[in-house]
Symmetry: C2
């Protein structure tokens, strides 16, 4: 009997061809959800699905599913689903999301070309609006699919350009008839570039993703008193800039230091007013991004920040208000799937490690309705959401080989 074999050439060619859609002369491409360029990407994907003679379904939120039928129809035996997304941020790389969708097609192609009908159906999915650039929230298509957001709310989402998501779906011809969630897979697998520097830094080929870390986003607004930097004694100052700096330093030096391999904290945005060399800042606006794969530790970090804010506000005589911008609990992935991925990487002679995903992915939504796992390949310098996003072709192929092998094992394990 034939064995499904990966066709590396077609996979790489499709990644490049999809990357050309919405491309700018400077090297990046922009296919923001439900725009004309993203429609062109969808049309190309659907055409490739047709070439594989897949049963194509589009659901009411625009998620695209290409079904390779199995010996038993998917309505009778829960299928295996792989997927990701093909929408992009502005001026993006060619790999984020697209790699996972096209690798899923490459797995289906391997079965088609080997003439093998799998025991269960194999589905490749492309979820709508993973990036959340135009419509909030991000990971919307998979969230709706998994029942975490009702369809009407999603369709009524108003974009940054004032458009209604449902209208744009109709306009581009991807308001499908299938009910979101209609096909519940037995397992969901997502292959993705790491979008972080860990695998490259450790010279490893495969990341076995243990889950997606929890996220806590806050905006802090600190109100002090503007005064002359030369004439105001320290004891009479209410320095919003100092309070902001003390908070940012505390997060790294105390909160992160307590769990340096688990807790992340970033103050990426900080603005002082009036922002003059010789004027004590009247106001400071800052963001705090904290992440942890462990919910207990994330809550501990939030509590320590809150306590420090209260202490510094009291000590410096400033007012500090905080606004929660986002909060997601950590999502652990399926242990058995992680074991299979890890064993497969070892069998293929690929160096690997277990690791948490720092970024959000459709997989974390699909984990609500099916055993789920992810496979990572290295990202050069951890760069993503940028035209300089890069993974070597050999590494892309290695990831797809792991995916193909894991799929084979899952289908065989009946």
């Amino acid at each position: 009997m034939n064995t499904p074999r990966l066709d590396p050439h077609t996979l790489l060619a499709q990644i490049r061809a999809l990357g050309d859609i919405g491309a700018a002369a400077e090297g990046g491409r922009t296919r923001i959800a439900l725009t004309d360029s993203e429609k062109a990407g969808r049309d190309r994907l659907v055409a490739w699905m047709r070439e594989l003679d897949l049963d194509i379904r589009v659901d009411a939120i625009g998620n695209i599913f290409g079904i390779l039928p199995g010996e038993t129809p998917w309505q009778e035996a829960a299928p295996l689903m792989m997927g990701s997304h093909i929408d992009t941020v502005g001026n993006a790389g060619a790999l984020d999301g697209c790699y996972g969708v096209l690798a899923a097609l490459a797995v289906q192609r391997a079965y088609r070309e080997a003439g093998i009908v799998p025991r269960r159906a194999i589905i490749a999915a492309a979820f709508t609006n993973e990036e959340g650039v135009r419509y909030q929230p991000d990971m919307m298509g998979s969230l709706v699919y998994a029942g975490g957001l009702d369809l009407d709310s999603a369709l009524n989402a108003v974009g940054t350009d004032g458009s209604r998501l449902g209208d744009e779906l109709v306009r581009i011809g991807y308001a499908g008839e299938m009910a979101p969630g209609a096909i519940v897979p037995r397992e969901y697998l997502e292959l993705h570039i790491e979008q972080g520097p860990v695998l490259e830094a450790e010279n490893l080929q495969i990341g076995v993703v243990t889950g997606v870390q929890g996220i806590s986003w806050q905006r802090l607004s600190i109100r002090g008193t503007a005064n002359h930097a030369g004439t105001t004694p320290t004891r009479l100052r209410h320095d919003a800039g100092y309070a902001a700096a003390a908070i940012a330093a505390f997060l790294r030096d105390e909160v992160v230091a307590a769990h340096p391999d688990s807790t992340l904290a970033t103050v990426g945005s900080l603005e002082l007013h009036p922002n003059l060399i010789n004027v004590i800042a009247r106001q400071a606006d800052m963001t705090v991004d904290m992440r942890d794969p462990d919910e207990g530790r994330l809550q501990e970090a939030e509590q320590r920040l809150q306590d420090f804010i209260a202490a510094i506000a009291e000590r410096e005589g400033v007012e500090i208000s905080s606004e929660r911008l986002a909060r997601f609990e950590p999502v652990p992935f399926d242990d058995a799937l992680q074991d299979t991925i890890e064993a497969t990487a070892a069998e293929l002679g690929l160096s690997h490690r277990r690791m948490v995903s720092g970024a959000g992915h459709d997989a974390q939504m699909m984990a609500r309705i099916a055993p789920t796992a992810m496979i990572f390949v290295p990202s050069h310098k951890g760069i993503s959401h940028n035209p300089r996003e890069h993974t070597d072709d050999a590494q892309l192929i290695q990831g797809a080989e792991v995916l193909l092998t894991v799929v084979g094992k899952r289908l065989a394990a009946e």
Copy 2:
């Protein structure tokens, strides 16, 4: 024999009248050096000097001197000089500088109205471009007068509007004939609002100024690496924002804490790039304003900052460059003059303290060529360079009474 007595009404009326020149409907006034509105202020001042029948001299940098002749001509017995400036920042209060110049006129008026010819000449001076808004450096007129900057360099200064200072002096009619520094006083006295909150906070009426603190201004530019806040482990970060926060916190928590009543440190300006919630800052640009009345401690603060910069750059893997923007050594004032001011305040029943000046003043330049001291009156909430700058009329009068009495003592002490 008559005694010189202060005429409070005329002093306050002149402060208000000068404050009306260049005034906006919203309450502030703008008389930036050598503009039409500042020329109008100069013309008004000169007219008031004429009313007192002063001998008016203008030097080549535009400093204005009103000489009340003494028994002995100033060419033979070094005169007593008082002064300050009448140029303003944009949207300023009515007191900064103007109070000192008009109080000097009030002292001269007291002698005129009492019919008393002082033993030595009494001079009221208004120095050009103290604020340095349009032309750099600030305190320019007094700096040139004291020999700290050559006349040609000052005349060739190019303004923020592209104008040449010397041309503007000619245009407004204040390019005088006297050589700067031609009249060397025996002592220089400057009465000024505190521009800080100390006297008000301690409920005191008079500040006996011990000197002007030293100033060290630096701009720091920190270059790290932009990376995803969720996918980049702390050990692989080069976070310019964290380095900036650590420096700002260090300055307060370590450098200032070592000498809390002497060293000041302010990070008033801080900007992150790209300044996004989920992106580790690639670059941080910040300013450091450090001040100390003691040169040794100021150098110690600079050294500790430099050492910390080197340590954090090494630890965080970022590059930090520093640029010196300004550096002035502390200027101590004359001990005998301080003693006289302090004794006078006590005799007049005014509460008082010795204190350092946090801001720069013409007095610090004049201290190069004559024994110099300053008298402070309270500034409400420490506000200056702002239409809300305020000192109660009674406090303004108290300061002028001290000045008048000190002048009397100095002239009697022959």
